[in-house]
């Protein structure tokens, strides 16, 4: 398996580097560097941790932006309880989680161990696809085994790269030896997750944020960012943006500081996200974006350069999304494939009279969020790209090349 690296460049921090403290030059923080930057591993009781997470309104940093305090309160503590760090980062445009695991693995581990200790369990599993991230975590565990042994048992498990395989319920199913596809039943990981045990599962950045919260305390943690969602967040920027790749920004940063000017359309929230014409008046705060019908999801923000064919980018991603359908649910399997053909017709200046019906036929008709996320991506693209669509309709092309700004990762192999 190989991944196509976007840029191997170092991550950037706008304002204070917190998660990325000491690693913005692209060098990995080993255990002693990490301890110098963040202090010793600290622990909180479950009640304290949940109270602190509630105070800073910490939200999960994967897709769903679920409140961490609520999730902590929902998981019964005890020796069977499982902690799962979802590092599959199965969206090819997103690099933030692998950047954290690769450059600052001890911050992720501090967070995972703090949650495990609070839940009075020793079972921690980190699901990861990326080879460099897995190696860095293994090395970090070896450093700790010598310098600061802890009772927790941390397993690093390699997972497949397919988009839908990164959905937490698919990850848990795969870790249990089943197929890495979402289960049909709407099971709650907090009740019956890994090995059927109560499970606290969240994405990599969430655990790194928990580590920061524990080491800084809620007051200092909340000293930056917006009052609705204090602190910083990680984004992956693509295309015509202020910086490229992974950035850490305070949550009150206006988005047009990151995607200035008015070149091409902007994609917010990655391949299950939405296209917008511009980002004036928006900030990176998840609750504020949600109120406007938008989502940051895993934090991918892309702006297409003017000289790229936007419709070609949309077509390529739609085709990729169709290929990512786990093929379990008929409407998703057939619907996303037909949708990809429709979008391809529009790209080539043909009509696609059924496209609206096709989109409607995908809404809430699958076992996971993939059909609905695909609908959000395509619907918003067709809304925003009216001029481009008209040009393609008239001339069969806009004359601009397909630039491949939005990466498609490895071909899906099932």
């Amino acid at each position: 398996m190989s991944t196509t690296p976007l840029t191997r460049s170092a991550p950037t921090a706008f304002g204070s580097a917190r998660l990325l403290a000491g690693v913005t030059h692209g060098t990995r923080a080993d255990l002693s560097t990490h301890r110098r930057l963040h202090g010793p591993q600290r622990h909180r009781t479950l009640e304290e941790l949940a109270a602190d997470a509630a105070r800073v309104q910490l939200l999960g940093r994967g897709g769903a932006a679920f409140p961490v305090a609520t999730k902590l309160a929902a998981v019964p503590p005890g020796r069977r309880t499982q902690v799962v760090v979802n590092g599959s980062e199965s969206e090819p445009a997103s690099r933030k989680d692998r950047t954290l695991m690769t450059l600052t693995p001890h911050l992720v581990l501090d967070g995972a161990l703090a949650v495990a200790r609070a839940l009075r369990t020793s079972h921690v599993t980190i699901a990861v696809h990326d080879q460099a991230a897995a190696s860095s975590l293994h090395a970090a565990l070896q450093e700790r085994a010598l310098a600061e042994p802890s009772p927790e048992l941390v397993r690093v498990e390699r997972r497949p790269a397919r988009f839908v395989a990164g959905e937490i319920r698919a990850v848990l199913r795969g870790l249990d030896g089943g197929p890495a596809v979402p289960p049909s039943r709407r099971t709650l990981p907090s009740e019956a997750g890994l090995h059927g045990a109560p499970t606290f599962a969240s994405n990599v950045e969430t655990f790194a944020q928990i580590a920061l919260l524990v080491s800084l305390g809620p007051a200092e943690y909340a000293a930056v960012g917006s009052p609705e969602e204090p602190g910083t967040t990680l984004l992956t920027l693509l295309g015509d943006t202020r910086a490229q790749g992974v950035v850490e920004v305070p949550t009150d940063l206006p988005l047009d500081a990151l995607v200035p000017g008015t070149s091409g359309p902007v994609l917010l929230g990655g391949y299950h996200g939405r296209w917008v014409e511009d980002v004036v008046g928006l900030s990176v705060t998840r609750p504020a974006l949600r109120a406007g019908g938008l989502a940051l999801n895993a934090g991918v923000v892309a702006r297409l350069p003017r000289e790229a064919c936007a419709l070609a980018e949309v077509t390529a991603v739609t085709r990729w999304l169709a290929a990512q359908s786990a093929g379990q649910c008929g409407p998703c399997l057939f619907g996303t494939a037909a949708l990809a053909r429709d979008v391809d017709d529009l790209l080539h200046g043909r009509t696609a009279p059924e496209v609206d019906a096709r989109l409607a036929g995908l809404v809430r008709r699958g076992a996971c969020a993939h059909p609905d996320g695909t609908v959000a991506f395509v619907t918003s693209a067709l809304d925003v790209l009216t001029d481009e669509l008209a040009t393609h309709r008239r001339h069969g092309t806009c004359g601009r090349p397909y630039a491949g700004v939005l990466p498609l990762g490895e071909r899906s192999v099932r």
Binding site: V181, P182, P183, S184, R185, Q328, C329, G330, P331, C332, F334, G361, R364, R365, G366, A367
Partner: protein, 64 residues
């Protein structure tokens, strides 16, 4: 009662829309379209019949 489709099981046999037209229709591929998940009390027996007739065991009737 609510009628739910297990999308991972449904094979698109297209039966259910005929048996429970108040709540379900079938699209051109035969897959159900849930018009309204809430089954009216007077229709529960129709819903039960649709559930037991589904060859893929893909329909579920559950309490809200």
């Amino acid at each position: 009662m609510r009628i739910e489709v297990d999308w991972t099981r449904c094979d698109g046999h297209g039966l259910c829309g005929l048996l429970l037209p108040e709540n379900l229709a079938n699209d051109t591929d035969g897959f159900p379209v849930v018009r309204d998940p809430e089954v009216a009390p007077g229709n529960v027996h129709h819903a039960r019949r649709a559930v037991s007739a589904c060859p893929a065991l893909a329909l579920r009737l559950s309490r809200p």
